[in-house]
Symmetry: C2
DNA sequence: AGCACAAGTGATAATCATTCTCACTATGGA
DNA sequence: TCCATAGTGAGAATGATTATCACTTGTGCT
């Protein structure tokens, strides 16, 4: 609607990849230096509520977002090399219930996959530390 | 080793369930009121490094921990009713690679399952809001 | 076009979990 | 026993996120 929101939306498009609020603020300010941080937070919250963007995790203690490119239930592939985030279909739909779930009614789940994207996998750098489990 | 660490370890045992640092501080101070918050943070960090405890997620923006009861690769069932956390074997080991992973080398993953434990499932309360996806 | 109201904005202060600093103390080996 | 080292506690510092507040912009109505 308003000018700042338009700038923020186009900055999200320009970035393409996953971004933190700081990344986005930097991109936004390249176009409109007067935009405040609070406004960026509010715009991202609004976009998240409108499913235009989704939170995919955390990097260095600050939230990571991506533009929504898929509808419905899906998960994320996070490249630990470059931060690229891709979408993946849910692998659990066709799977029998887990061991250890006796009496437990599962209503939701979160799955995040870490690894290297095609680009980063061909490079030889083994130094990366994101994942757990 | 030291007295505060012993108190903290036994407080973790007493709690049994998943806990935030605040929960743990309250339990610890019931036994030893003089223990500082920083000490609890440090002790939990040490226990996590020693695999005596693991971080299983977030509740109200603060970290959730459970005592480690299983070795190796596993996942967590979080009851959105009472906060109980159980361990589950990994359902992905027997599953074909996901769609959408072309060229992506998956090296790690995180999975958390949300739902209601046997106790909470028998109660009728439908009000709970934790999960996403 | 003119107007009033609602929503959005920007700066700054506040909040809250977590971490750091620093002076002090307990621990465990020699 | 004595000392180096790790642990401790209080409070300050940090850093991401949110709230506040006065002001502006956009919208719908006339």
């Amino acid at each position: 609607m308003t000018a700042p929101r338009r700038v923020i939306a186009s900055a999200v498009d320009r970035l393409g990849r996953a971004f933190t609020i700081d990344d986005l603020v930097a991109e936004v300010r390249a176009l409109a230096p007067s935009v405040g941080i609070a406004t960026v937070y509010r715009a991202v919250a609004a976009m998240e509520a409108a499913h235009a963007v989704e939170r995919v995790g955390t990097r260095d203690e600050s939230a990571l977002y991506v533009r929504c490119t898929a509808d419905g239930h899906h998960h994320h592939l996070v490249c630990t090399g470059c931060g690229l985030v891709a979408h993946a279909t849910c692998p659990l739909d066709d799977v029998p219930p887990l061991h250890g779930t006796e009496g437990f009614v599962v209503t939701a789940h979160e799955l995040t996959l870490y690894g290297l994207c095609a680009g980063c996998a061909t490079e030889v750098s083994p130094a990366s530390e994101l994942p757990r489990s």
